[in-house]
Point group: C2
Chain length 420, copies 2
């Protein structure tokens, strides 16, 4: 099913709008179309991450061949390098990275809060140090809007406060209220009319706070909503509970974007709970470690068992990698540190997730989503929860160390007293 | 001009043969077609190097888009990893790396001799250590044939002794004679009839030895000839002199391959002196350092001058990189250590050399090669000779250190006394 056929089949609504084409009884799952300045997006959709204006190891023509509809780029990284003014002078992100389909940028807050770049947080904004040269920068809701307008993505995100999942309830509430105040300031600061500004639901791991946050932001009437602060170390049961607490309140007529979540099981569970959009570095990051998705779980291509394996990663996979190369060749590329290995693995993993979500969308349209989800999850062995959380914490710790070596920054200081 | 149109235009001769379509008065330059088991090759031709069965950072579909006619793979590297038996079990190199056009493999000798893996050399063969695990291996002419038959390339090379350009005349003569004896043993050891075995002319930097070597091998009637041991630290004037000493003797009815030489000026000077085939890691290796070919010389993409440069590397270049991306974006990718940068730079540099050689071939067919060469060399500023030689020595030294760290091998020992 090609992108354009799919769009036609869904009767896209007028520009800037969101159209729900099909729903599922006993589920919040829906198939929809979101219109943006660079064309429509068929949802549910998985968005590959191009942190520094490049989906790692892949060129735009490969993303098109994968039928990627929209990519995400990170405002934090791009404002540090090459700088939003440079991107603006070069005609904006689309032209800069030669990608003419939709782009979404985050606000830059997540990297500052989660990766240890924070120096000082007040109601006014965040003071932080660059991971590249240690220089000081200030990010406020107004500045987050200004930068994202310079970058020129189709969907931009309000600045939110991202907190550890272990924060106590009083701080979770405080951070949520700050997020609401910042959302309002972002709305007021927005100048460009061709960008869709999404508000972000926060509220930590408290059902009631999530509910309140979703309600508060719904009343602000954003063209779409992000759900932030999930999949940050909590169990999957809690993640799914928090998603539900948000989607049962968020307006049905607006797209919902679950930020930074993208394991195969999370995609289907998220769709079932009413999520329309997902992004995650997972498929490309694990690909570069030689971990490949299959219908039965992850495969480590470096394993000796693949030395003489003449078959593709998955026999019925239609990606460029599986239609051309054996497991044995991929293993050789990884063992020999050949760059092509990183790329062929990234192509396969992205195809796997994109295809899973496209399949889910078609299943929703065909009225067979529950069976689709059940069949997939029945065959797919997820990564063990303890292993998964430990991996994530190791990765975050590694990124923090790297950042601190680069910036020499001290531990961040959060200022809990508000200026209201 | 596409590959297939070009082949049709040249009226390819029958399988296994070499057909000279045009020559140039006052020059040894010629346009020709060499038929191989995987199709014809239009010469002069530049062959990108896929050391470990992958042209670094590029996939086969990109090589096809670049109209690459033939790639080179290194027998030394492939026999260390994954091993010739593995490649054979997986159906040979073509299937292994998903490349259905011609492939050439070298004998493996060059890496052993030049990169410090040598342990002991006798007339029988070479004892060396693996750069991967330090294990001991023996390469003889017979074993070089056996391995290359397992790999299954279309063109295979006889084992030769490669010596430093500073070796004295008596050793140069000895090494040449050993190379001749080995060439004869390779001929006798060859079993497969679908591979073209090329002999290799040696003789160091001595015109008379080069002449003798070319004459000796010519009489052995190989289907083609390599010229080895050049561009190893000597001046370009000497390189060109040695090429001439070979090509004025080698039979006109056989293809001539100048091994490991590939700067733009060397390609045109080599073609002018009767060379039909070239290979070199230069375009892809310097690309990964951010050095890009232009008609006026090399460009360093990291330079600050490219920060806001909205134009492509070369305005009239038709490669994927130049038709899609600005210098500013490429600079960003290099500064941000994005993998895509390595690849876009490799595509451009390969396109540049392939196009230069295709252009030379067309110029020969059109009777305007002298002007083509003069115009190109008039505009192109070559890398300064002293800088070039110093760079090459630094690179060789770095590779030797890496290899020795990997293998823990002692200095090699050459045994000058023959067993005759």
């Amino acid at each position: 099913m090609s992108h354009s056929e799919d769009v036609e089949a869904c009767l896209p609504a007028f520009a800037g709008s969101f159209y729900v084409a099909a729903t599922v009884a006993g589920s919040r799952a829906r198939a929809s179309v979101l219109r943006t300045a660079h064309g429509p997006i068929c949802c549910p959709v998985f968005m590959p991450v191009g942190t520094q204006a490049s989906v790692k190891s892949l060129a735009p023509d490969e993303l098109r061949a994968l039928d990627v509809q929209i990519v995400l780029a990170n405002t934090y990284h791009l404002s540090m390098r090459p700088g939003p003014e440079v991107v603006a002078r070069l005609g904006g992100l689309h032209r800069f990275m030669a990608w003419d389909r939709p782009i979404l940028t985050d606000s830059g807050g997540f990297q500052i809060f989660s990766l240890g770049h924070l120096s000082l947080l007040t109601d006014d904004g965040v003071l932080f140090r660059s991971h590249i040269d240690g220089s000081r920068h200030f990010l406020s809701p107004e500045r987050a809007m200004e930068i994202q307008e310079q970058l020129g993505a189709d969907i931009i995100m309000a600045l939110d406060e991202c907190i550890p999942h272990t924060a106590d309830r009083s701080y979770q509430k405080l951070a949520m209220e700050r997020t609401h105040a910042w959302a309002s300031r972002c709305q007021r600061a927005q100048r460009r009319s061709d960008q869709l500004l999404f508000g972000i639901v926060q509220g930590g791991m408290e059902q009631e706070l999530r509910h309140d946050s979703a309600l508060y932001l719904s009343e602000m009437d954003f063209p779409g909503y992000g759900i932030g602060g999930l999949s940050v170390g909590e169990t999957k049961a809690v993640t799914y509970e928090m998603i539900e607490a948000c989607t049962e309140v968020l307006p049905e007529v607006k797209p919902r974007y679950l930020m930074g979540v993208g394991s195969p099981e999370d995609l289907l569970e998220g769709i079932d709970r009413g999520i329309d959009m997902f992004d995650c570095v997972l498929p490309t990051r694990i690909a570069r470690n030689g971990a490949l998705f299959t219908r039965t779980g992850r495969l480590n291509i470096r394993n000796a068992a693949n030395t003489l394996a003449d078959e593709p990663i998955e026999p019925d996979c239609h990606c460029y990698t599986c239609t051309n190369f054996s497991r044995a060749y991929l293993r050789h590329l990884f063992k020999a540190d050949e760059l092509l290995g990183l790329r062929l693995a990234s192509i396969h993993n992205l195809h796997f997730l994109l295809d899973l979500v496209r399949g889910a969308r078609q299943a929703i349209l065909d009225g067979r989503f529950p069976a689709y989800k059940r069949d997939f999850l029945g065959a797919y062995r997820s990564t063990d929860q303890a292993v998964r959380i430990a991996q994530k914490e190791r990765w975050l710790a590694a990124v923090r160390v790297t950042s601190k070596q680069g910036s020499g920054s001290a531990h961040g200081k959060r200022v809990a007293s508000t200026q209201k």
